[in-house]
Amino acid sequence: MNELFDLVLLGLLVLTALAVARSRDLAGAAILFAAYSLTLCLLWQHRGAPDVALTEAAVGAGVTTFLFLVVIARTSE
């Protein structure tokens, strides 16, 4: 069961990465990037790396996505 969950998360990770790469809409790409970070965070939490999971969530999904959204907002109007 464990291995299957890992494989699903890895697959989801690659899919969200591809989605970020291919999406034309910037805000959409930023949200997808947050999803990518959260999937990564889930992967770490499940594989016994809680510190990395907490950091990836707080810094990757949190601060980085905020900065992307702020810059997208400022440069699109």
Binding site: L13, P50, V52, T64
Partner: protein, 116 residues
């Protein structure tokens, strides 16, 4: 099992790395290039954390209920530092993009190249 399947996790991180590299090179919007850079960086962090794993291992935190074998704590420490480095580079890159947008009015590399 063939080595490729055994080390599937490493191969997955390499695929992520190449998706990021492709976005960094091919995408014409500068913000998307920074996103590609971030995907490349998280892929390398994924490789480093995955390399520290052990079968049936527990999180490297000693205390009630934790039993051997533990994951190697060093890759986790390295990746924590790496994530901070990644967010710092992204912050400087995005600040530069704000300035490029103010000076040139666009963030599309093809339009920018025409204007040089």
């Amino acid at each position: 099992m063939s080595p490729l399947l055994e080390n599937l996790d490493y191969v997955a991180t390499t695929i992520l790395f190449c998706i990021g590299l492709w976005t960094l090179i091919a995408d014409s919007n500068l913000i998307k290039k920074v996103m590609g850079l971030n995907i490349m960086e998280t892929a390398v962090f994924a490789f480093i954390v995955t390399s520290g794993m052990i079968e049936g291992g527990d999180a490297p935190i000693t205390g009630p209920g934790a039993e051997l074998p533990f994951m190697s704590p060093i890759p986790h420490a390295l990746v924590l530092t790496g994530i901070v480095v990644a967010v710092s580079t992204t912050a400087v890159a995005l600040a530069l993009l704000l300035r490029v947008h103010r000076e040139h009015g666009t963030l599309d590399i093809d339009e920018l190249r025409g204007r040089w």
